[in-house]
Structures are given as C-alpha cells and as structure tokens.
Symmetry: C2
C-alpha cells in the first residue's frame, strides 16, 4: 500500500520542462531549488517531492498567464505545455487535509517559472481514510434517509433565491411535498439573514415535512442552508436534527475545509455540499483546480452530496465536464478495504425533463439528485405535474423507452415535452 | 451609515454590458433574470442587488476565458470589458462572513454571459465590525508583544521547509535568537507531520525563546504553524500559549474562513496568516479575486499578519502589486467609530538588504514584518551579520541616508551590499 501522495498538474513554461518540474517539487517540499547547508542527502531522500512523470504536450507562442515583465524570456521563446506528476511522502504532513492542500495546491501557483499551472487530480494513501471518516451517508445512506430506493431523487431549490419569509417558504414546501417531490434545498444565498432566520424557517417547514411523512411514510429531505460560523453551524445543525430534519447544506468554499470537516464529525444528518465560487477555480484551463482533485477534498471532509451543474445548464460548463464530475463522485476514492467514499452528484442549473434521457445515457445510472426549478414550477400541470413529468422521463430513460413513446400514455411528460422543447 | 454591501468587478462579455451586469445582480440576489411569480415588486425592492455603476473599458477580439461552444456568439463579436459595481442590502445575509462570500464571490463566476469576471474590491457596512472582532493584535499589538517599537520586525523562515526534526529546528532557533532576530516562522509545509510534531517542536523551541527573553528582555515571536483540523488547532494553540508562545500561524486558504474566524475567537496570541494557494485566485487578470477584496475577508476573520510577497520576489507578482497589498493592509477597513482592523503586511520571498530602501520608499513606513531566508543565512557574517545588515539597511532607509554612505561605518551592511548585489 502506497504511503505517498500523488498529484498531477498541467503546466506551461518557457523554461525546460524538467527544470520547471524540479522547481515545483523543490518549492513544495524540502525547500528552494538552491540547496541549503542543512538540507542533507538524508533529508532530501526522506522528504523531497519526486517528479514521477512528465508528458510533453504542445508548445504555444504566447504565455497563457501574464509573466512578470522583468522575468519574461528574452527574444523568441515558446511556452511548453506538459503534464507533470509529483509525489510526496505522507511523512511530510501526515494525513491532514488542510496541510495536504498547502502542499499540493500552495505556493506553487505563484512560481515565476510558470505561465500556466493547474492541479488536475490527486491520489491519496489510505491513511487519509483512517484519519477522516468521509461521507456519513453518501449514495446509499441518502437513499435510506429518503426511502427512494431507485431512480434519482427529484429535487428543487426554493426561489426566489433570497427574500422569502419563513411562512412564504413553508407555503412553497407545502405545495412541493403535496406534488411528490423527494428533495428540497435552500438557495446558497438564503442562509440566516434577518428576514428569514434559519430557526424560524425550520420551525415553519419541518412540521409540514413531518406531517407529510406521518401521513404517507415518505420523508422529504430538506437541505437547510446552515452556512455560517462554526459554533453557529453546530447549533443550527442541532436545531435541524431536533426538528426531525435529515439534511443540512453548506457552501463549502465559503466555509472552508477545516469547518466542513469539523461539522462532519458533529453531524447526524446528510451534508449537502454547495460549490458556490467553484468558477473561480475552474473556469480557466490554465490555472486553478480540476473537479477530479477538488471534489476529493470535500469527500474526505465529509460531504454526502456535491453540485455538478447539469447538461445544457445555464452556466459556462460543457456537458462532458458535467458528466465527468458526476462519474468522479460515484467512483471509489480509496482501494479496498478502505471505504470508497462515494457521494451523490447533484444535477442542477436549468434542468427539466428535457435533459433526463441524455443524462441517464451519459452517466449510465440514476444515483443522483436531479434538481429542477423552472422544470417543475413552469410545468403546465403545476408542481405536481412537473414532478410527475420528471419521474416519467426517468422511468422512460431507465427502461430505454423513447420519450415520445412513453409520453403517449403519460400526460405530464407530454406536457413537459411541449413546454421545455424536449 | 450605509447598510449595503458594495462589490466591484472587472467583467468581459459579448453581451450588452448593462444586460450582463443585470444578470450578475439577479443571479446573486433575488433570483434568475426571468421573473418568477412569487418574486414580487416588494421582494425585488427589498432584496434585489443593484447595479450601482458601469464603467466601460476596452473591447477585445477574443474571449479571455473559454465560453461554451453552444453559447459562443455567432459571427464576429467583440468582447467588451467594463468595471461594474453592485450593491446588496445587508438584510440578504446579515453580517456573516461565509454568506457574504457566497453572495459576492459565488455562482457568478460560472455565468455563461462572461468571458472574464474578477472580484476587485468589497466595501462592508460596520455591522460586520460589530459581528467580527477582527485582528486582536494587528500592527500595534504585534509591536507590543515583541517590544519592537520602531522599524520593521526582522524575521526569517525555518528552512529546509519541511524535514527538520524538532531538535534541528531548535538549533536554528538558538542561532537566530542569538543573532538578534525579532520574528521566526515555520514554513507553511511544516505543520504537524510525524517527523516534527507541533508539540515536540514547541517543547524544543520555547525554552530557548523564553530563556533569551529572561536574559535580554526581548521575546522573539515564533509563529508556530498550527494549521490543521479545528479541534487540533485549538488544542495546539493552547499548547503554544501554555509554553509562553506569542503567535500561531495558519495557512488561511487551506483552513477556510469559518475555521480562521473560529480560531480568532479562541486565540490569546497573534494570528499569522499565510496565503499559500493565493496564486490560484490572483494569477489570472480575468478571473478570481484581487488582494483588495481577498485580504479584507481575512482581516474580518481576524488575522494579525498576512503575506504580501516582497519587491523583486521569487514569484510572479509585480512590485506595484506588492506595495498596493501592503498599503491595503495598513488602511482602515471601516470608518470611525468602528476600528480600522489594520494588520501587518509580511514581506517575504527572496528578500535581503537589497530591497530595503526601495521598500521603505515605496511604502512610506516600516509597520511590517520583513522576512529573509538567504538574505540572513547567506550573509558572510553569518546569522548575526545578516540580521545586523538588515537592521542597518532599515536605519539608513528610514533616515533617508544612501545605503552606500551608511555602509561606510556599518560593516555588515557593506558585506550585504557585496553579497546580495544591492
């Protein structure tokens, strides 16, 4: 079993690639590229990062990120792209999530040698699984909490994003649970503002969900956005649990790794991870962090769900990237016998019955949360019609029946196909 | 007194700028650009973000960030750059740091309308100062803790970055305190790894610092890197305090806002903020977050020091940007009567006596920590010579005496000028 941490990067540099890779390795381990007196052979051997592999890619004429004027190469230079894999001994930082990040995604982004540097993926020894319990519910636990044993959890987000009162939110929840929804979430902008405090929202919503559960046996999962300071989140989590809630949501980038990992150890319910701010890390092909690396940090910290956008979303993400992200969430993170830390991808952003067949075909399973806003609210049959149309679309997709065929005997699906140009 | 939050952005878009700005405002407040049935006029009035100002800049031929293939503009399109200012009512999220971030730096980076989007600055109502105590020591408190009443704190980083044992680290500390240093810090890669556990390091180092303080009256500040999980950081902080330490360091991006704010409320010593990973947010001119916005978040969370690189550093940051960052740290964050939340900028990365005069001239004061590695270690007079040369260089700069003149009667400075090509 390996005790080394591996990380893969896309780099671009006007320097020889081997040199640039050694600079990365030096900066992020035993020190500077120039050897110090007390940097003994034994120390380098035990603690130096190793350049495991270099795969040269294309060269480009112009740097992808600006380089410092006084350091820019003189005369005509090409900027060489490459894939570089580094490894570190676990000994350097121990199985610590924050210190892992300082190592694999720390100062190196600032190094003058690079005109592009993006962390693509990480591979961690199982000591991290021993140190971090990871998702408490994950895919199977979320199914148990909701009683949805097959097909996706059909969900929605309370809209307008921010500004509704607790009573207005509860009115929507009444309609949604009556309409057959499985999952509801607060918007990431609706946390604990004075016009809609979290506790008042819990007080207004949970009686509706609990009464519906008593009547029908179906407990709708509501992801209460408890994002906030540490003590506040713990107290709000406890309040949600005491009221019978089964899920809390956190905006993971806004909270940070230490906060989310702390909440996980305290939590008794599913942790819904919202990735607001993710665009800052992802939108440049030449800087930041790819989802393959990013989401592993949050799985380790312990989220049970994480957002992946959706096909033909309203954002800038390409469909292939969405599917890659969803698949990554479902792939084991550690080799057996350590747990796989699989989590549920959350499809969201401009989703309706229109994307269901393509989503199922591309992903090959329905172990996901499928969130629609307009795709439910704007359905001619109202909320119940919208939810029914989505359920029908997934039934058709999973049975490999063309939507048009299935729609002949399923009115709500037929209506959705007209409304959402499926 | 304003109760609105203001944020300024650089944007680039192929759409009309006014439309794109409205999309940002809508996405980050009451909802989608398309109006929902329950998005009443009253709700929009009370909770909608407002486009306060648009300043049109140049247009460019190619998008700075890739746009989705199916959404890219047809035919010839220009990509218009602009500065946009938005404002939000505090009512939307209350004075909550994580929820502020979800609002001003959340989903908007992913919006399909933009080929560049960078958060430049934020301006917060004083309710945030009421909610967050901010830096506990700041500039003046750090001077009190160290007894350095004028001039910069002269500091260094233990190197090699990672791999030394506690005893080897303590050996360096012995030499450094004997050499007259004011401030020492762990590297951000040296936290609590099994080869150099934090507590063993404290045990080895603090007796040296305490004995020196008893002998000389000067308490050298050692920033112990306690970055880790929440409970671990609290316990390690307590351990440092019990041993007589006066500072703990955290890699702020690796911990996250909620964790740092939590530690601040618990802390009795100075919080040294390391910004490892900052390059991910800063290196693209077209994406991420400028230091003006970024560092305010950490000041509110409560760091007393934050890194700003230094002139002619080994990274990719330009000198003008370094000085702008340092000045920002020293500028009041709230209007009186709220506190100013000033913190000490930490100059580091390739620094020696060579950059002192330019640093002082550009910044106009010496309220900073000036960290040198090779600039101390590689001095011909050893550590004591290196520290003396830096002290002399700052004395000369602050007295407006040319270095060459001052060096005639200050041997260590003369040696530094030869060694570091001042």
């Amino acid at each position: 079993m390996s005790t080394r941490i591996h990380a893969r990067y896309l780099i671009e540099t006007p320097y020889p690639v081997e040199h640039a890779a050694q600079v990365m390795a030096g900066e992020q381990s035993s020190g500077t590229f120039t050897r110090l007196a007390n940097e003994t052979d034994a120390l380098r051997e035990a603690h130096g990062a190793v350049v495991e592999n270099i795969e040269t890619l294309e060269a480009v004429e112009a740097p992808s990120l600006p380089m410092r004027a006084d350091l820019a190469p003189q005369g005509h230079a090409l900027f060489q792209r490459a894939l570089v894999e580094l490894s570190w001994p676990l000994e350097n930082m121990g199985p610590s999530l924050p210190n892992l990040v300082s190592t694999v995604a720390g100062n190196l982004f600032e190094l003058k040698e690079f005109s592009a540097l993006k962390l693509l993926d990480i591979d961690l020894p199982s000591a991290f699984a021993d140190a971090y319990p990871g998702p408490q519910f994950g895919m199977s636990g979320t199914r148990q909490l909701t009683g949805i044993t097959s097909g996706p959890l059909l969900g929605t987000i309370i809209k307008p994003s921010v500004g509704l009162s607790p009573a207005e939110t509860a009115d929507m929840v009444t309609q949604l649970v009556a309409g057959g929804i499985d999952f509801i979430k607060d918007d990431e902008l609706q946390a604990n503002g004075p016009h809609n405090p979290l506790r008042a929202r819990v007080d207004a919503i949970m009686p509706i969900i609990n009464a519906h559960a008593e009547r029908t046996g179906k407990k709708v999962m509501y992801a209460f956005n408890i994002s906030g300071d540490i003590d506040e989140m713990r107290a709000q989590h406890d309040y949600v649990v005491a009221a019978g809630g089964t899920c809390v949501m956190v905006a993971v980038n806004s909270i940070g790794l230490a906060g989310v990992a702390h909440l996980r150890r305290h939590s008794q319910v599913a942790l819904h991870g919202h990735r607001a701010g993710w665009g800052m890390l992802s939108r440049s092909p030449h800087l930041g962090m790819a989802f393959d690396a990013y989401h592993k940090l949050w799985r380790l910290a312990g989220v049970d769900h994480i957002h992946v956008n959706g096909l033909r979303n309203k954002f800038s993400e390409e469909d292939a990237s969405v599917i890659n992200s969803a698949r990554a969430c479902q792939t084991a993170m550690f080799e057996a016998p350590a747990a796989g830390y699989q989590i549920m991808p959350v499809f969201s952003s401009g989703q309706s019955a229109a994307q269901v067949a393509d989503t199922y075909q591309a992903l090959g399973n329905s172990d996901l949360i499928y969130c629609c806003g307009g795709g439910i609210m704007a359905h001619p049959g109202g909320i119940a019609g919208g939810v029914a149309s989505l359920r029908q679309a997934w039934q058709a997709a999973m049975a490999n029946i063309p939507l048009a065929t299935y729609a002949r005997e399923h009115r709500e699906l037929a209506q959705a196909m007209e409304t959402f140009s499926v």
